[in-house]
């Protein structure tokens, strides 16, 4: 006899976040938006893409963790979030395995 009831084991617990946190996150998001616009006007070479994407990731993380309560959610919900990011990366990276290597063999082979 297993005393543990499967249905109970994954229950989320209500977590009420103080309002001030929402305002702080909102302020951070607005500041980051301004930063990303500003950074776009500075020539950072190849880094421009990295900075823009980096800031976007931070902003998305703020929304996910606080607005969407993932920081306070069950492990399962956190796993769903991580899994979907992981699969998105699979789609990107493995597709890139073709596109990045496109020049490697075709060029010298077709030159002669």
């Amino acid at each position: 006899m297993d005393p543990q009831l499967a249905r109970v084991e994954e229950h989320e617990h209500e977590h009420i976040v103080p309002r001030s946190l929402y305002y702080a996150v909102f302020a951070a998001l607005m500041v980051l938006t301004a930063v990303t616009v500003g950074a776009a006007f500075v020539d950072l070479g190849v880094l421009n893409v990295g900075v823009a994407l980096g800031i976007a990731v931070v902003k998305a993380a703020l929304v996910v963790l606080f607005f969407m309560h993932v920081k306070y959610s069950s492990r399962l919900v956190q796993l769903v979030v991580l899994a979907s990011i992981f699969w998105l990366l699979i789609l990107f990276l493995i597709t890139l395995s073709d596109y990045v290597t496109r020049g490697w063999m075709a060029a010298p082979q077709l030159v002669r």
Binding site: M1, D2, Q4, L5, A6, R7, E10, L76, A83, S84, W87, I90, L91, I94, T95, S97, D98, T101, R102, W104, M105, A106
Partner: protein, 553 residues
């Protein structure tokens, strides 16, 4: 166990059900009228709606298969024009893949059994479950409209730029049908995942779940994470076809290989959407008809997950000669070989389950033996296709056609039929006629091999797929194949007849005619609308046959 079960008399005899009675009220007679079916939220009734609709679509797809096989009797294109032939094989593929194989086991057996096996009253979102059936029907209606309106001639793969720029057929209508039915599949997967996580009966821990549920959980992962990619790809294709935008068309800057990447990102894992539920069914059948807990439970469970995950990394093996780089091909090839390992693990575990079992040969078990044999050949020939140097030769030949029919028809369809026979008493409360069922299992097995084994040979000889006319030296093998298809077709019609017959006239089954284990056998046959008179409390793993005698005593 329930007292109303008479044990089976001998190993080979058909199940006897003397003394079994139908429950007074069950999900089939709880309410009547067409609204009670078309507006039902009962997962069991929705499963039956799916059963009827996919069976209808199966015969539509089968009709086109027959047309293709008849045309290929002779090397010349004498039965129909090339355009008609191209539409026939396209519609065969589209209907069978998107409207039969993908929903087959999950939407019927999965829908019916998942809540029962978990001890739940329904799926987590019953209305979404109904919605997904309607989406399936709307998608199928578009597919049928495409057929009636002149057909689609792109092949089920919809390769651009042919589909987006060149084809004069009903590509858009067909694509919309596939797009909509994709969301049916996504919603089914969503429902299964949430149900598995949130609706298990008390005590039903992850490692007590039937392997059928594990397989469906893995399948649902693919449905959720893969299907949307093909949906957007189809949408982009429609965008391109309507507005000539040039994402895939190289003449205006696009890349046709990108279409193939995005298409196969889903459509390769989709093969596992088709076969994983079949593996789940087989895991149940092997245990039930060996009266034994499955050998290496956790290895089978995790191999399902491994297949689901690794299956996402191998799509490029459809594209070895499509213009991807050899380096990329290496990556896809090595991971493709890795997928073979968990599949092999499953086969070995099923085999080992028979060891010291109590094996009986009822129809579902015959389908199981058939599945193991055909899946072995299908899986092993997958190695041929995964190995780069060999794939260059056999890619897009009948070798490939034979390989994936061994997996999808030899695997999925055998498991589907086996599962349908096994759970038929649960679904209808009636037994199927064992003699006829054994005959049809035999016909399917023989007919299948006769149809598709010659295709390996003709494929290695170099006959390309989707050929309306072919060089005369391939004729003998093609005639064999068509002959086999005839037997196969008869083998498929037979169950439809005796299943329909048995629904009214079959003997009453009782709640557990096979003396199998699992929560679905703990309730009546057919089950009540909310599945269990009392919510079960699970105290041990699903297939604990060895304790049964003690428990009965």
């Amino acid at each position: 166990m329930s007292p109303d079960i008479t044990p089976t008399s001998t190993a080979s005899a058909t199940v006897t059900a003397a003394g079994a009675v139908m429950p007074a009220r069950h999900y089939l007679n709880e309410s009547g009228g067409w609204q009670s079916w078309l507006l039902t939220t009962d997962h069991k009734r929705i499963a039956l709606l799916y059963l009827f609709s996919i069976t209808a679509l199966f015969f539509v797809g089968g009709f086109f298969a027959l047309a293709v096989r008849l045309e290929l009797l002779t090397p010349a294109g004498d039965l129909m024009t090339s355009d008609t032939y191209n539409r026939a094989f396209t519609l065969h593929g589209v209907v069978m893949v998107f409207f039969f194989l993908i929903p087959s086991i999950p939407a019927t057996l999965g829908n019916f059994l998942l809540p029962l096996m978990l001890g739940a009253k329904d799926l987590a979102f019953p209305r979404i479950n109904l919605l997904s059936w309607y989406l399936y029907i709307i998608g199928a209606a578009f597919a049928v409209a495409a057929m009636v309106g002149g057909g689609v001639d792109t092949g089920w793969t919809f390769y651009s730029p042919y589909s987006s720029m060149a084809s004069n057929s009903r590509v858009l209508t067909g694509a919309v049908g596939v797009f909509i039915s994709g969301f049916s599949s996504i919603l089914t997967g969503l429902n299964f995942i949430v149900t598995t996580h949130r609706m298990r009966a008390p005590g039903m821990t992850w490692f007590r779940m039937p392997l059928f549920v594990w397989a469906h959980y893995a399948t649902s992962l693919i449905m959720i994470l893969g299907t949307p990619v093909v949906a957007i790809t189809i949408l982009l294709l429609a965008y391109e076809r309507v507005l000539r935008v040039g994402i895939f068309d190289p003449n205006i800057g696009g890349d046709p290989v990108l279409f193939q990447h995005l298409f196969w990102f889903y459509s390769h894992p989709a093969v596992y959407i088709m076969v994983l539920p079949g593996m789940g069914v087989i895991s149940e059948l092997v245990a039930a008809f060996s009266r034994k807990n499955i050998f290496g439970y956790s290895f089978i469970a995790f191999s399902s997950l491994a297949i689901a995950i690794l299956g996402f990394l191998v799509w490029g093996h459809h594209m070895f000669v499509a213009g991807i780089t050899p380096y990329s091909a290496l990556v896809f090839s090595i991971i493709s070989f890795l997928v073979a390992v968990p599949s092999a693990v499953k086969v070995f575990n099923w085999t080992a389950t028979l060891y010291k079992g109590s094996v009986s040969y009822e129809t579902p078990m015959l389908y199981t033996f058939g599945f193991i044999g055909l899946f072995l050949i299908g899986g092993l020939t997958g190695l041929f296709l995964a190995s780069l140097g060999l794939d260059v030769h056999v890619h897009d030949t009948y070798f490939v056609v034979a390989h994936f029919h061994y997996i999808m028809v030899g695997g999925t369809l055998m498991a589907y039929l086996g599962g349908l026979h096994y759970w038929w008493p649960k679904i209808t409360g009636k037994l199927y006629p064992e003699g006829w069922a054994k005959l049809s299992a035999l016909m399917v097995f023989v007919g299948f091999n006769l149809t598709f084994f010659p295709q390996f040979i003709v494929g290695y000889l170099g006959m390309p797929r989707r050929y309306h006319m072919y060089p005369p030296e391939f004729q003998v093998l093609n005639v064999l194949s068509t002959a086999g298809a005839t037997i196969l077709g008869a083998g498929y019609v037979l169950p439809m007849i005796y299943f329909a017959w048995s629904w009214r006239n079959g003997r009453i089954a009782g709640s557990n005619p096979f003396q199998a284990r699992g929560l679905e056998w703990e309730t009546t046959s057919p089950p009540p609308t909310f599945n269990f008179d009392r919510t079960p409390l699970v105290t041990e793993a699903t297939h604990s046959y060895a304790h049964e005698e003690a428990r009965v005593a």
